[in-house]
Amino acid sequence: MSAATATARPLVEHFEAGLQAPICLTWELTYACNLACVHCLSSSGRRDPRELTTAECKAVIDELRRMQVFYVNIGGGEPTVRRDFWELVDYATANDVGVKFSTNGSRITPQIARRLAASDYVDVQISIDGATADVNDAVRGPGSYATALRAMERLAEAGFRGFKISVVVTRRNAGQLDDFKALADRFDAQLRVTRLRPSGRGADSWEELHPTARQQRDVYAWLLEHGEEVLTGDSFFHLSALGDPLPGLNLCGAGRVVCLIDPVGDVYACPFVIHDEFLAGNVRDPGGFTEVWRSSDLFASLREPDSPGACASCGSYDACQGGCMASKFFVGLELDDPDPECVKGAAEPLLAAIAAGGATVPASTVDHSRPGVPVPSPVRLRPTRR
């Protein structure tokens, strides 16, 4: 993103107050998935029978065109398992709604790769969570590294330049950032690294997978060095409290410039808060998505100025803005508490109190995990949370 400047009022104030339409809209087309990643933010696995139909999806695209949402980030689940996936992609791009879709790569055949390479309006993001098969497969399941690499090879062979390789930074792969960058360079692709959140099944693996304080400092230093060449979804702004701000928007965009449409049409404040507490409405409601975006009570409240709460006395609040709402919520913190990964350690006493039984940790209200699918990692599941 870039800014052509002619006046002085900070853009960030406009973002906080919300825009006419989202800048970064994630649309998860299905909860069905052929993988069962331990940190899946949407607890995907089984298709939901209430999934939006083809016609309903097209009506949403019509709305996005009218609202001038220039592009959507399509995900899931594994979005390509929908039978009408390519029909919807074609419909979106024909209506000036560009598409970037996230995939585990399992359906990127040589033919599909050639087709994708031929389109300006479609971008592809291959998910991988280890630069080596052992690190990746422990989180994403056996064989998933080879599948992702094969998809990357096919895209590169088809001449698709600049596709995205998307990595969630964990305790296991935080030391592999240079290797991920080399992998992206090898395919003439662009690396995207984002922050792990305790959302969906991520809540169960958070304790084992979230980066250590030492790793966070290393990731911050790496991002400062490589920030302009690497996409981050502006997701590491809590690390800006370590010093110079990271490139990008240092702000929680939930309900302001960001939101999620889930497979059944529910609209949440961001992709990491699939929970009733952050449900703004449904695209099937009268007035559709437009009405939800512009008039829902939840989004109106998220567009109010933030209260710094427990962070008010910290000199770094301007830099980190108190961190990530979703990360706080799903570990049982209040929304005006410090981020659980606060670089000053301000959340430690609160987290200790929660672990000692001092607060209820909210479980996700939406779970499409397939029963009986073994969790493909040595990660220990937490005892049942209330």
């Binding site: 900070p10 406009h14 006419q20 220039f70």
Partner: protein, 100 residues
């Protein structure tokens, strides 16, 4: 934060014909507009309504200078808008040539 404007840096030729790249769409917002280039997938923030107006009508005028004047840019403000247009030309958002 007011931008630091280097008045000596080269700017685009205001006396030539410029237009929005046909692959660029503008979305009006309270602060000005969003400009999105479908080809490069680049999103730019036009942080003034006046600048957004200039862009929306750039192709209707024989020169960029005319487009700025028609939008209400004063002689004193012109260097700032020339700089903003230069940034947009550098990133491919606007291109030289007739838009009419």
């Amino acid at each position: 934060m007011p931008p630091v404007v280097d008045l000596d840096a080269p700017v685009l030729d205001l006396d030539r014909e410029w237009r929005l790249d046909p692959r660029v769409a503008l979305r009006p917002e309270a602060f000005g507009a969003l400009a999105y280039h479908y080809g490069t997938r680049r999103l730019s923030f036009l942080k003034s309504r006046l600048l957004a107006d200039i862009l929306a009508t750039l192709g209707d005028h024989p020169t960029a200078r005319d487009a700025c004047a028609a939008a209400g840019v004063t002689a004193g403000e012109l260097p700032r808008y020339a700089r903003a247009l230069t940034t947009l030309a550098d990133t491919g958002m606007i291109v030289e040539g007739a838009g009419r």
